[in-house]
């Protein structure tokens, strides 16, 4: 059941990216290009997603536990630190360069493979650098 729910979530999320055209880096760059020919679509995507997402948390807050798991595992960190700011800053630069964030980048493996293979390869390497940096220099 858990496996089916996980697969279905991935499938519907990918479908949502496809319907909203976030799978196309030209659309994403068009949104980020606020000083050029601006395409507001990402505001509509995030607005729609956050609106329904808030309803989800409203339902969550009325329940004691999730349906197929024992407890909630929602992050509840509150502090703003250097890692958060630097990480988000670097991510934004990478996102602006290609128009791919992780989800749309992964879908590019099939939608635009000649780009997706390089982006996803480097995405994995970047993620691995962080992982092994943590393993080697854990404070």
């Amino acid at each position: 059941m858990y496996a089916f729910v996980t697969f279905l979530t991935g499938l519907l999320f990918g479908l949502g990216l496809a319907i909203s055209e976030m799978t196309n880096p030209a659309v994403v760059i068009g949104f980020l290009d606020i000083f050029g020919d601006w395409n507001p679509s990402l505001i509509a995507v995030m607005g729609g997603a956050i609106f329904v997402g808030m309803l989800g948390y409203w339902i969550k807050n009325k329940r004691l536990s999730p349906i197929i798991a024992n407890e909630w595992q929602v992050p509840n960190l509150k502090h703003i630190d250097r890692k958060l700011l630097i990480g988000a800053g670097l991510f934004g630069i990478g996102w602006g360069l290609s128009g791919y964030c992780p989800g749309p980048g992964l879908t590019a493996l099939t939608n635009n493979p000649l780009e997706g293979i390089y982006f996803v390869g480097a995405l994995i390497v970047g993620s691995a650098i962080h992982h092994f940096q943590n393993v080697l220099f854990r404070k």
Binding site: G53, W95, G103
Partner: protein, 132 residues
Amino acid sequence: MENLTYPILGGLLIGLTTSFYLITTGRVVGISGILAQLLFNKGRLLPLLFILGLILGGSAYGTFFQPSVPFPEIRSPWLLMISGLLVGYGTRLGGGCTSGHGVCGISRLSIRSIVATLVFMATAIITVAVTH
């Protein structure tokens, strides 16, 4: 003004999906985190299923849903690899990407996620302004 029907529909579906996952499994959807689980955790089956589903769902683009603007012409491998490195490292250091911080985090009004989203939006907008 572009037609916003499909972006809104897609956004609603994304929100429905993250809410469904939250209420069933108790977890938030964060693509960068799920990819890291696939790469470095012991339990690989679930993140693998998620990512296969994501790629399958996303491949509906260009088949069931036609692009309103064409894909960019294939860009240089160097640009794509530098972008991928920054996205891979930055999302892990910052603890989330557009899905984990931008959608799930803002939906629960997490201050960390709101700040992270403002920062990555700002640096992305500046990057596009400089490179275009």
